[in-house]
């Protein structure tokens, strides 16, 4: 109905999309131009490709398969902390990778809690560097995501089906066969593909827990070609390989996932009549407890080990924290100035090119874009002097697909609900933005800004590529402390990083919701 005209001009969205496309495609072109295909694929390249695919496939399989019983338990049980637990499942998304890795080491590492317990009964300690560690960390991040996506699948089953099941006195077995398995057959491939795509481009996990000839991902190999060998053309060639890998993974993921990844309303369970058996209740209780422990133990490890050190952190850590906050705020500003006009243009329905620009970021990884920018900047300036702005920009580009997924439905709602009224009142441009669109979108803007700020705050990617030894954001500083075995200071820095990420997310998110209520 309201497709003809909208009170905001979609031209600004097209301009923003052009900027995004230029930045990403420019970086890709630079990489292709600099890459020397004559290098071919050496044995170490093949090893990196194999390891990348293997760890991503294992991570996706474990996350998706383990998420099934956990999501089923959450879908059919009501208990006091259920809402809190579902919220906690969203936390790994904004948790800095380096902080999570630190927590996982504290729990599952050689001298971690689990190894200590194993020592009491005479068993050898765990060893989590290499493939085990990379997969463990990826499962830590993606099991909650998979659980949330599957929970969405359960919620999308019409509640009448469960009522019908009660009428026909289904047991849990019949429900599984007739209702749950068909739903899982539709959703699981998509869940697997999304996690596979995420793990293909994951960098910080491989940097901290992988490495060596047998556990190097392509993304990590790019970094090593850069920082250890100073071999720009090899880094560019590896980037081309990574573009192919990530592009294929992203296309598969987009094909297989029709659902909304950040759905709300997951905290409302459907009433069920088929799952009262005591054995099932015990089983679900155990599963939910295990999943909660798997999430909570590493987080508590960070808090416990960091509390002592956070009060006397060295000045470099505070300095790095300050820089990180600046980068995060700058990145959030860039993100919003791109994502807002793009979401309006997409909602106006006139620009599918804008949408394509929005998902370009999914196909390119941070280190590939970073390499491309390095190649482009290198002839003109010292890229290291632009480390912070480039980091902020790349972080914004990486957050863009998520931000659009949050903003576009809201912008569509406003256009559908109020576009005609605004037009009939002759409201356009700034008055419309100020009095209608921005206030209506404020909760979503706050949420998107919070995600972008937290993601940028915890990012350990491009900054590792560009930074000189004198300069560090907080995640990089923490990584350097860990590499130097200053574990206590690293723990303090980790806690500080965790707190800052959560505070940034909370401040934007709550600010957005308050802005809407005012």
């Amino acid at each position: 109905m309201a497709g003809r005209a909208q009170p905001v001009n979609p031209v600004w969205g097209s301009v923003a999309a052009a900027v995004v496309a230029a930045a990403i495609l420019g970086a890709l072109c630079a990489v292709f131009w600099r890459a020397e295909a004559s290098l071919g694929l050496g044995p170490s390249d093949w090893a990196a490709i194999r390891f990348t695919v293997l760890q991503a496939a294992l991570s996706a399989t474990f996350s998706a398969v383990l998420a099934v019983p956990v999501a089923r338990a959450l879908a059919r049980r009501q208990f006091a902390a259920r809402g809190a637990l579902v919220t906690l499942l969203g936390a790994p998304f904004i948790l800095p990778v380096i902080v999570a890795v630190f927590g996982l080491l504290a729990v599952f590492g050689r001298s971690g809690w689990v190894s200590t317990v194993l020592g009491w009964v005479g068993l050898p300690p765990l060893h989590i560097y290499g493939l085990h560690g990379v997969v463990l960390a990826h499962v830590f991040f993606n099991l909650p995501l998979a659980t949330r996506l599957l929970l969405q699948g359960w919620r999308d089953v019409p509640s009448e089906q469960f009522r019908l099941a009660a009428q026909l006195s289904f047991g849990a077995g019949e429900t599984a066969r007739l209702i749950e398995r068909p739903m899982l057959a539709r959703t699981l491939p998509g869940v697997w593909a999304v996690i596979f795509a995420i793990c293909v481009t994951s960098f910080a996990v491989a940097l901290t827990l992988g490495g060596g000839p047998r556990a190097t991902t392509v993304e990590l190999a790019i970094f090593q070609a850069f920082s250890f060998d100073f071999d720009l053309s090899r880094a560019a060639w590896l980037s081309v390989i990574q573009i192919a890998l990530a592009g294929i993974a992203a296309v598969i993921a987009l094909r297989l996932t029709p659902f909304e990844a950040l759905g709300t309303g997951l905290d409302r369970p459907v009433r069920r009549w088929d799952v009262g058996a005591r054995r099932l209740i015990a089983q679900d209780t155990m599963l939910i407890t295990l999943a909660a422990l798997f999430l909570l133990l590493p987080l508590s490890a960070i808090v416990l080990s960091g509390l002592a050190a956070i009060w006397h952190l060295p000045v470099q850590v505070w300095h790095a924290a300050g820089l990180s906050v600046l980068v995060a705020l700058g990145s959030t500003a860039v993100l919003l100035s791109l994502a807002l006009p793009m979401s309006w243009a997409i909602a106006a329905g006139s620009a599918s090119r804008v949408e394509v620009a929005g998902i370009l970021g999914l196909a390119a990884s941070p280190l590939v874009i970073g390499t491309g920018f390095f190649v482009m900047l290198n002839p003109f300036v010292n890229p290291q002097s632009l480390a912070l702005p480039v980091t902020a920009l790349v972080n914004a580009l990486m957050a863009l697909p998520f931000a659009l997924r949050i903003l576009v439905p809201g912008a569509r709602e406003v256009a559908r609900g109020y576009g005609r009224l605004a037009l009939s009142l002759d409201m356009r441009g700034w008055p419309y933005l100020r009095h209608v669109l921005l206030p209506r979108l404020m909760p979503r803007i706050g949420f998107a800004a919070g995600l972008a700020a937290a993601l940028s705050m915890g990012d350990l990617g491009v900054i590792a590529l560009f930074a000189d030894p004198e300069l560090a954001t907080l995640p990089l500083q923490m990584y350097r402390l860990m590499a130097a075995y200053q574990m206590e200071t690293a723990a303090g820095a980790g806690l500080l990083l965790l707190v800052l990420s959560l505070v940034l997310f909370w401040a934007f998110d709550a600010g957005g919701r308050r802005g809407a209520a005012a």
Binding site: R4, Y418, R420, L421, D426, R428, P431, R434, H435, R440
Partner: protein
């Protein structure tokens, strides 16, 4: 006079032809079966659907290519007539200036409009804090402060109970009489038409027929109207 000169409105793949005049100050009910194009007709007059042929005139001046906000039309939609985050007074004030930069005199006009619809002391409330009937009144206050010569109702009172709907139609009738506006009102209910309308425009088979007297049409319905009324 509102004149639709051999107009065809396009709404998606649907087309509606109209060649008719509505005299000033007339109150016209737009009736017809579901999907016949009643909404397309009034939304076309309001400027939300393109006229792919023909021309529209108001008072002799052509309005065919005018943007919705520039037309001499104020409209009440089925829903979404109020911005939920703005106060009732602000909502009404949008009818005067969409940037809400009103002079003292303008605000006086807005307050008069609110008093006129019986919401004089509820201006500070948000729409959600009002009852359904009060929300309709607030929307009418907005329409009043728009002060446009044509008022279009696209079934805005459909969700109200019968008593409340009659109350609103009486209020509309009073406001239209006072302001001298021309009224186009989509309705399913012949009772609405007899209550308020002078004329009826029958819409059926992709065509909007010229208005003719409501009493006569309802007393002696054409075959098409009889098929619709049942």
């Amino acid at each position: 006079m509102l004149r639709l000169d051999a107009v065809t409105f396009q709404n998606g793949s649907f087309r509606l032809a109209a060649d008719l005049n509505v005299a000033k100050r007339r109150k016209v009910a737009v009736m017809g079966p579901s999907g016949s194009g009643k909404s397309t007709l009034v939304n076309g007059v309001a400027g939300f659907h393109e006229a792919i042929t023909g021309r529209l005139f108001w008072d002799g001046a052509e309005i065919t290519a005018m943007a919705p906000g520039k037309r001499p039309v104020a409209m009440l939609f089925q829903d979404g007539n109020l911005f939920p985050h703005l106060s009732v007074r602000q909502n009404a004030a949008l009818g005067v200036r969409p940037d809400l930069k009103l002079s003292v005199g303008d605000w006086t006009r807005v307050d008069a409009a609110l008093a006129e619809v019986g919401l004089g002391d509820l201006g500070a409330r948000k729409p959600a804090e009002l009852s359904g009937g009060q929300q309709s009144r607030a929307a009418l206050a907005r329409v009043l402060s728009q002060a446009r010569p044509i008022l279009i109702l696209d079934e805005p009172f459909a969700a109200l109970g019968p008593a409340l709907k009659h109350e609103m139609l009486d209020l509309v009738e009073r406001l239209v009489e006072e302001t001298g506006a021309t009224l186009l009102m989509v309705t399913h209910d012949p009772g609405d038409a007899t209550r308020i309308a002078d004329d009826i425009i029958l819409v059926e088979g992709g065509q909007a027929h010229p208005p003719s007297s409501a009493t006569k049409m309802l007393a002696n319905p054409s075959p098409a109207l009889r098929a619709y009324l049942g």
